[in-house]
């Protein structure tokens, strides 16, 4: 089936099997490997991307469902060579170790800050409840999101 998806502002058109998962489309067809796969059960959030602005687990969306949609992945966050405040925040506050959950974590945090630009620590923890991290114990991630909230729009 022919589909078209606008990924990070760029239009992609491909003929795909209906069963192809969006995450495999992004990684294997569009060659955007920043979005990762961590589980088979829609629980780890490593594959989180923005689909028409909403954070979704791209392992639980068929590529055909995203036909005509706009997708933002981790590769689409930095603008003109400048890191997104969340990317900067994760760097400043050591919000990552192995980095595997990080793209999904950042995309979820993106959603959070879009809906709630100044979240409390509790709200940040709630905002990333769909994302598992085995390295950090989450505390530095919370600080990273706080950093981004403080430095956004400046």
């Amino acid at each position: 089936m022919k589909i078209g998806i606008k990924i990070n502002g760029k239009w992609h058109e491909n003929d795909v099997e209906p069963r192809l998962l969006l995450v495999h489309y992004l990684r294997d067809v569009a060659s955007l490997t920043g979005t990762h796969i961590g589980c088979e059960s829609s629980l780890c959030g490593a594959c989180t991307v923005l689909l028409n602005g909403d954070a979704v687990k791209s392992c639980t969306v068929l590529a055909v469902q995203a036909d005509g949609a706009e997708v933002t992945t981790i590769e689409g966050l930095a603008r003109d060579g400048n890191l997104h405040p969340l990317q900067q925040g994760f760097w400043e506050e050591h919000g990552l170790q192995c980095g595997f959950c990080t793209p999904g974590m950042i995309m979820s945090a993106c959603q959070l800050l879009a809906r709630n630009p100044h979240p409390s620590r509790g709200e940040i923890r709630e905002g990333i409840e769909g994302n598992l991290c085995r390295c950090t114990g989450y505390q530095h991630i919370v600080k990273a999101v706080e950093w981004a909230a403080e430095h956004s729009g400046k």
């Binding site: 209906p18 069963r19 989180t48 909403d54 687990k57 469902q65 769909g130």
Partner: protein, 290 residues
């Protein structure tokens, strides 16, 4: 991780969807948000030959008030229900229930209709639907009908919808005066599903006595159910914590309790009673009672 192959169908209208649902009634599945079905397809626990994606059907995503009732289109996401101002004002149990579901990403994509039609015995919406005496609208090639929620859940992953029927809307009575509702949940630490989830709506009379109580329980048995004995035990009584606790002891009367690795049947039954009391107490407090 990888689903089996299927043919993909994209109806644009409800009628077209109904025709497809009829045509593929035997080996087809209807896809809403996909957060119940796609995980099962990835584990190859479900392998439909035809997938009918409702995602592009016009007019199934709405929240509106009509005739004193709240009507929600089946493709409304949990997120939309969670944040809808109309619901917060007129039917706050729904946003509260939505907020208890999964996580942000799941709520962004999963739909109320998809969840109810899937009839997972540990899903959250069934409890709210039961506590609110919801009605569910289905459409098929032979027309449409409203099914009272009391007749909707049949068994594990089974509803009273006929093959070829599509769930298109759910209708809830708005919160009456002197009423409050609440959802109390003990979530499974891994899946986030309800080990026990209790939705309650309580209406008090002018003297503060319980005029009407509705309690929906999920997670406890092979299907969600109304705890009628609890409702009967508290109706006509003062909503004191003692009375609420006593009534809640009936939360699992006549119920065949689930037991699993996380919670035995006995413990689940205990949790159901505790959470029923908590949901009722919160509903009473919100109704302006003490």
């Amino acid at each position: 991780m990888i689903p089996e192959s299927f043919e993909y169908h994209v109806p644009k209208t409800v009628d077209e969807a109904a025709r497809m649902a009829a045509e593929f009634a035997d080996d087809g599945k209807v896809l809403a948000g996909g957060h119940s079905l796609i995980p099962m397809m990835k584990l190859r626990l479900a392998s439909p030959k035809h997938l009918i994606d409702l995602g592009r059907v016009e007019g199934l995503k709405y929240i509106r008030e009509a005739d004193g009732k709240i009507e929600i289109g089946a493709l409304t996401t949990h997120f939309q229900a969670e944040y809808a101002t109309l619901l917060k004002e007129k039917c706050p149990l729904l946003p509260e229930t939505a907020r208890a579901i999964g996580d942000v990403q799941v709520r962004n994509k999963g739909t109320i209709g998809g969840s109810l039609a899937h009839a997972d015995p540990a899903a959250d919406w069934p409890a709210a639907a039961l506590a609110l005496d919801a009605e569910l609208k289905t459409v098929s090639t032979s027309g449409e009908r409203w099914i009272p929620v009391s007749e909707f859940f049949v068994d594990l992953l089974t509803t009273s919808m006929n093959p070829g029927e599509i769930l298109t809307a759910i209708r809830f009575p708005a919160l009456p005066v002197r009423s409050g509702d609440a959802y109390a949940k003990h979530a499974h630490p891994a899946s986030g599903f309800a080990v026990v989830g209790v939705a309650a709506r309580v209406t008090l009379d002018e003297k503060g006595i319980v005029e009407k109580a509705r309690v929906g329980v999920t997670g406890v048995s092979s299907k969600a159910y109304r705890a009628s004995s609890v409702e009967a035990a508290i109706t006509g009584k003062a909503p004191s914590s003692k009375n609420l606790d006593t009534a809640s002891l009936h939360a699992v009367d006549g119920i065949d309790l689930n037991g699993d690795l996380y919670a035995s049947a006995e413990y689940r039954g205990h949790l159901a009673k505790v959470y029923t009391a908590r949901a009722l107490a919160l509903a009473v407090e919100r109704a302006g009672g003490k």
